[in-house]
Symmetry: C2
Subunit: 376 residues, 2 copies
């Protein structure tokens, strides 16, 4: 048996979700509750009626790869169509690192799969925490100071799960400059941009790929189009990296699904579909912030994605909220020790449930002074 | 960069397919040319219209996992729904082996991905060739004698790509007995049953899982239902193995696609759909055998799948057939050195193309005496 599998800790998110009872208010979700636009799926099925359901090339249909690079990539980059952005994360670790020597650096709080993928691959990883006092604001200095001599990959997310933070342009520029100045082999950066279309800042988030050449980007239709079950994502990066990633991808699962790829082609032909849900999330975010203020819930105003970090430094807060107040949230330490004393609240729930959930959280935490950290 | 990626040889099958010109007769295909029954796909889309397209649980929808085990598994076994059987192969190597110590034994000619997956995972693998003289008939003795002290996984395929051979019951029983008698930790067997529904023997092929407990099975809808692009497969095995495989699977790609899983549920509710194409292949196989006899093509009569091995011991036979006779075939050595001097002919092409392809192969090889090896 593979000894690395035994080293992977069980999922806290799954454990808390398993304890959910009917009638509980679910602020623990990791996927949209909005319905997908059915048109791209209808078009995909129409294509299958005419053409059958054959394999695509390993890397994906060429016209889809081109559309992905045209929207999200940089000149000269290439794309591999993947089984969701999860496979793009996995392929990055699989491709870019030599497990015998290299190390991965992961700023946290972070998506728990990042360190777990490293463990599965036998790759050393280290985390460095962003400052909770600042609402987990991404800071280049924190990352640059934590780089070690063996660090060959850095995993960033912007907008980030669980913090909802977006890397601001100034910090990205400082990071790109710091990485470029380093001697020796380059530090690659995996930029997880699965929430790229869901931002509430005045400008769309910048990608590090626009500033630093040794960047690969993971993305998908899962969050922007409420198509998590489509399992349609991509890895974008320099062509020589993508060529190697495609070799691994072909042995992992041959190719992403044809129906998902045809649906994605329909989406990229009509890119407004990628942005269709953002105003709905922006409106729900206002409901969230209003309810947080009303019920005295301390949270970091999200700049992107559909999560918010809530400060609730009480023992077993998530467990007690679930047991005593019937609200599902995820304990912050599921995302790294820097988020101890915090909860991740997902605000994809319908407005009424969201408001009632915040009310109960406020009640539970009522001893603590109410502050809403501002959007930086 | 991961040094194992550089060790993986380029695909000979892809190289020869890349040289195909319009008008060439394509006997190189690895997927059905039949059209899938549209009903399961329509049902899946109907489900998505009503329910959206959410994630399934990591291991797949529970009712689908149960249906898969009910049809193909043994009591007490469990299933993980995978992204095609390719992912099931990958997960088996990933889960069952310790790369630091264990070795994989692969009888060949075999699907080229088996040794490549091992290389990608840094797992040692060795092949042992079945006897070309006997038409690559599977023999337990050949496998048992080749086991080494570190062998912890054996990869079998029945029906097999590229040989079209099925493991007969007697040989499977001898294999199970030999493996059971071995001292020390068990040798696991990965039984690749992706062609399980496409057999032309009087009885359905037996699975080693029916005889030997340390067996995991890979399967999919790809070949039986002409749904290669659906990427819907499964890994079946003892529950404790599947639990570990699901951990890896979740980090690789979260879950198999929801549309594919809903379509699979529709198929398993009406299992005749799994067998719907077999009579069509059986009829085409008769066309193949008749044309082979007529044109003096030496081939091993297939017992399953949709390939046949053609004996054509001339230098660069596949290249010359393509260049001079415009027929795409795959050189035998793509599947292992025991198949040097042979070609893999895929007989999924329409009857007219198949007959004309065989005619040209016969013309090219006309010096050699015509024999058709019997169905053993």
């Amino acid at each position: 048996m593979n000894p690395h599998l035994a080293e992977i800790p069980p999922s806290l998110i799954r454990a808390i979700n398993a304890r959910k009872r009917p009638g509980d208010i679910d602020l623990g979700l990791g996927e949209p509750t909005l319905r997908p636009n059915p048109r791209p799926l209808e078009e995909a099925l129409e294509w299958v009626r005419e053409n059958g359901c054959p394999y695509s090339p390993n890397a994906g249909f060429p016209e889809l790869r081109e559309a992905i690079v045209a929207r999200y990539g940089m000149p000269g980059m290439s794309a591999c169509v993947t089984v969701g952005s999860e496979e793009a994360l996995y392929l990055s670790v699989k491709t870019l690192l030599d497990p015998a020597r290299d190390e991965v650096l992961i700023p946290e709080p972070c998506y728990p799969a990042y360190p777990k993928i490293c463990t599965l691959e036998g790759v050393r990883s280290r985390t460095v925490g962003f400052d909770a006092e600042s609402g987990f604001a991404p800071r280049a200095e924190v990352v640059l100071e934590a780089l070690g001599p063996d660090t060959r990959l850095l995993i960033l997310a912007s907008p980030a799960n669980p913090t909802g933070r977006v890397w601001p342009e100034g910090e990205l520029r400082a990071l790109a400059a710091g990485l470029s100045e380093r001697q020796g082999p380059p530090v690659w950066v995996l930029s997880d941009e699965v929430y790229r279309e869901l931002f509430y800042t005045p400008e769309a988030p910048l990608s590090l790929a626009q500033l630093y050449p040794h960047t690969v980007m993971a993305g998908s239709l899962s969050k922007s189009c409420a198509l998590t079950g489509l399992r349609l994502g991509w890895l974008i990066g320099p062509a020589e990296v993508i060529t190697r990633a495609v070799t691994a991808h072909g042995l992992l699962n041959t190719a992403a699904g044809t129906i998902g790829q045809r649906a994605a082609l329909a989406v990229f032909r009509e890119p407004a579909l990628l942005e269709e849900h953002r105003p709905l999330y922006a409106a729900r975010r206002r409901v969230l912030l209003h309810a947080a203020e009303e019920y005295g819930v301390h949270l970091v105003a999200p700049e992107g994605a559909f999560y918010a970090m809530v400060h609730l430094p009480r023992e077993r807060a998530a467990e007690r909220l679930l047991e005593e107040h019937r609200v599902v949230t995820v304990p912050g330490h599921a995302f790294g020790s820097s988020a101890d004393g915090w909860l991740r609240v997902s605000w994809v729930a319908p407005n009424a449930a969201l408001v009632e959930g915040l009310r109960r959280i406020g009640e539970f935490g009522s001893e603590i002074d109410a502050i809403v950290l501002p959007l930086s």
